[in-house]
């Protein structure tokens, strides 16, 4: 069997995937021995498959996993397991205690650092967030909208108390709520 260049191009995928009749494979191998063009196309296509198939090809944006985890946790709060409920209840008792203690020390609402933003009333108070001295908003760690490199990690309650407001990007779920 003799095959033309066009026939080789038509079968390249099947050839590389190993889904080809043995006689046709033999004929293509024979053709490739004498055809530099088809060899270049075959080798190049094999390279394409190899490179794109490598896991390293995809790089996750910084903080991607944390934000996904946060989003899932926030939406699972209404569907917790029994153990989850116990943990949540215990956390709520601690949070209420802390809130009451805070109320006695300062009865005023915190003064927000920017008049264009909203206070983070929907954000779980115990959630760990990051803030920067020059910034006006607080973020999920790794949020790409943090402009300053020097950040510190605090609870959302502390951030709100200090006048920070939630980032409208990484905290949008809580703002909607």
């Amino acid at each position: 069997m003799v095959v033309s260049c066009e026939e080789v191009w038509r079968e390249i995928s099947n050839y590389l995937d190993g889904e080809i009749d043995p006689d046709l494979r033999f004929a293509i191998d024979e053709h490739l021995r004498g055809c530099n063009h088809c060899t270049a196309v075959l080798m190049g296509t094999g390279n394409v498959i190899q490179l794109y198939g490598d896991e390293r090809m995809t790089e996750l944006p910084p903080g991607f996993s944390e934000r996904l985890h946060q989003r899932l946790s926030a939406n699972m709060s209404g569907r917790r397991s029994f153990l989850g409920w116990i943990v949540t209840a215990a956390a709520a008792v601690v949070a209420v205690g802390a809130f009451e203690a805070g109320r006695f020390s300062s009865s005023n609402q915190p003064e927000v650092r920017s008049e264009h933003t909203r206070t983070g009333t929907g954000v779980p108070p115990g959630m760990m967030v990051v803030v920067s001295a020059e910034g006006k908003t607080f973020h999920v760690p790794g949020c790409r909208f943090i402009h300053d490199k020097a950040v510190r990690t605090v609870t959302a309650r502390v951030a709100i108390k200090e006048g920070y407001t939630p980032c409208v990007r990484c905290m949008k779920e809580f703002l909607r709520a």
């Binding site: 080798m43 190049g44 490179l51 090809m57 996750l60």
Partner: protein, 218 residues
């Protein structure tokens, strides 16, 4: 002549996934993140291939993960969780794409002869590039841009078959097309990518020296 590239072991092959699903279905919802975490990279790649924008792809992944959680009770044990998750992600990404009409990049025209077969346009010799070269951001960027320049149907099929390592049948089912059409489309996608990349990837990636800007001709 060339060996068939071996797909990496997928997270679906990992033992324990079925047990995790069973426990989540029985109320241990907090385990869902553990279940989804090994698939993060793949579902992001799926969403990014369709939307071509990191922020939109991340939003689509989050939404898809929430939908998967909501419908975990519908997941059947005979299916692969990874494939099911990719299907949900693709649907989510496609929905967003339709909403936003985000086709900013004009797809390259595919070259066909009178019989409708794709004709390669470049016969540059392309030496094998070691996968370790993927550590270089410039190479990843070049590959990402090449894939983004294909039309949607070619991006999707290539992503499912060659990046997610689904079989031709699974790929065809996911896209709702026949296996024969899937094969034709896949061949064109692969050849178009080779045409796009071959002139730039002339073997310089196999050498030790760092990549010089401006070396790539497209």
């Amino acid at each position: 002549m060339l060996k068939k590239p071996t797909p990496p072991k997928t997270p679906a092959d990992q033992p324990g996934e079925r047990e995790l699903i069973y426990r989540i279905k029985n109320g241990e919802h907090d385990l869902f993140y553990e279940l989804i975490q090994p698939h993060e990279r793949k579902i992001f790649a799926a969403a990014f291939t369709i939307l071509r924008n990191e922020t939109d792809a991340e939003d689509a992944v989050q939404e898809a993960a929430l939908k998967a959680f909501k419908h975990i009770a519908d997941f059947r044990a005979e299916s692969q969780f990874g494939t099911w998750l990719i299907q949900i992600t693709i649907n989510e990404a496609r929905m967003r794409r339709r909403k936003e009409h985000a086709d900013i990049v004009q797809p390259i025209a595919d070259r066909r002869d009178e019989e409708g077969n794709y004709v390669p346009r470049d016969f540059a010799d392309w030496r094998e590039i070691p996968s370790a070269a993927l550590e270089r951001k410039e190479l990843r960027q070049m590959l990402t841009e090449a894939l983004a320049s294909l039309g949607e149907k070619y991006r999707e099929i290539f992503m499912l078959r060659d990046m997610q390592h689904l079989s031709i049948e699974e790929t065809a089912n996911t896209l709702g097309i026949s296996a024969a059409s899937a094969k034709v489309r896949l061949l064109r996608a692969r050849l178009m990518l080779r045409d796009l990349l071959a002139p730039g990837l002339d073997g310089s990636w196999t050498r030790e020296q760092s990549y010089a800007k401006g070396k790539v001709s497209w």
